[in-house]
């Protein structure tokens, strides 16, 4: 079933700030097999000029979609999760995320388009600190296989 184009432009806020912790950064870095001390050891990160341990570049995937679950699960949108695959992902960083950051996400359904038999939905998330400093933007394209057939 084609996705409902009325959802294009809708914006969703994360319900509560996401607190970036040293433990979570280390756990995530371990899970991707990266032993760089800047992810695991505060002293090493500080010695390298960072305020605290920094997050690997793909870390925002952990929290940047938390606020959009309700949107994508809205029956009015018509998304069949069983047929969803990840199509594209992009990050634009203003600065590295580090432990101690408290981050909020504003996510917008930027585009819905059909490509062949598939539906493509682009979600843009602006990640900012609770004091309003933009930290990064993420672009996430999900593909619903067969959705446009």
């Amino acid at each position: 079933m084609p996705l409902n184009r009325d959802f294009v432009g809708r914006t969703y806020e994360s319900s509560a700030p996401y607190e970036v912790s040293r433990v979570k950064i280390s756990e995530f870095a371990t899970a991707i097999g990266d032993s760089n001390p800047i992810y695991h050891d505060r002293q090493a990160a500080v010695a390298a000029g960072h305020p605290d341990v920094v997050a690997p570049p793909t870390f925002p995937i952990v929290f940047s979609l938390l606020g959009t679950g309700d949107a994508l699960g809205d029956p009015g949108l018509g998304l069949n999760f069983a047929m969803v695959v990840h199509g594209e992902q992009r990050f634009e960083y203003e600065r590295p995320i580090h432990a101690g950051d408290e981050l909020v996400c504003t996510s917008t359904i930027a585009e819905i388009r059909s490509v062949g038999r598939n539906e493509f939905l682009t979600l843009r998330s602006d990640v900012s600190t609770t004091s309003g400093e933009l930290v990064c933007r993420t672009y996430n394209v999900i593909v619903e296989r067969g959705g446009a057939a």
Binding site: E27, G49, V54, P56, Q89
Partner: protein
């Protein structure tokens, strides 16, 4: 913190040697836990096959993370990556054995920009398949 690679010492067309990353089922289970992505296609063979996949497949974001690891290990600083994007062009199929699958990543400096930034184009393959396409990182060098 700054990258250990110097802008003036890098040339367009310069190749970054390939690195191979092993991915086994246990790595996917660990990544599911750390990332919060528990889609069963990444750990449950029965479910994966029921939805038409050949076997359990790696999270696209796991493969993407190996790409950024490749770039940050080259540049010498995780904070040097200012932009990073990929398209997931093919699946990394992870069999249930001790070896799992191998993701082979290589790179080339595609462009030198102003402000000491370079564009690194990545090639990521598993077996004969290109698993990422349009994989580019913009890196701030020193």
């Amino acid at each position: 913190m700054a990258a250990t690679v110097k802008y003036d010492e890098v040339e367009t067309g310069q190749e970054i040697p390939a690195v191979e990353y092993q991915v086994r089922r246990v790595d996917l289970v660990r990544y599911a836990g750390a990332s919060g992505d528990f889609n069963p296609i990444h750990w449950n063979e029965r479910y994966a096959k029921a939805v038409g996949l050949p076997d359990v497949i790696a999270h696209g974001m796991y493969t993407m993370a190996q790409g950024s690891r490749f770039v940050t290990d080259w540049a010498g600083d995780p904070g040097a990556v200012v932009e990073y994007g990929v398209r997931f062009s093919s699946m990394v199929v992870v069999p249930d054995d001790d070896n799992g699958a191998t993701i082979r990543i290589s790179g080339v400096v595609e462009e030198k920009r102003e402000d000491k930034r370079v564009v690194v184009a990545l090639t990521a393959k598993s077996g004969d398949s290109r698993v990422l396409s349009k994989a580019r990182a913009v890196v701030q060098l020193s």
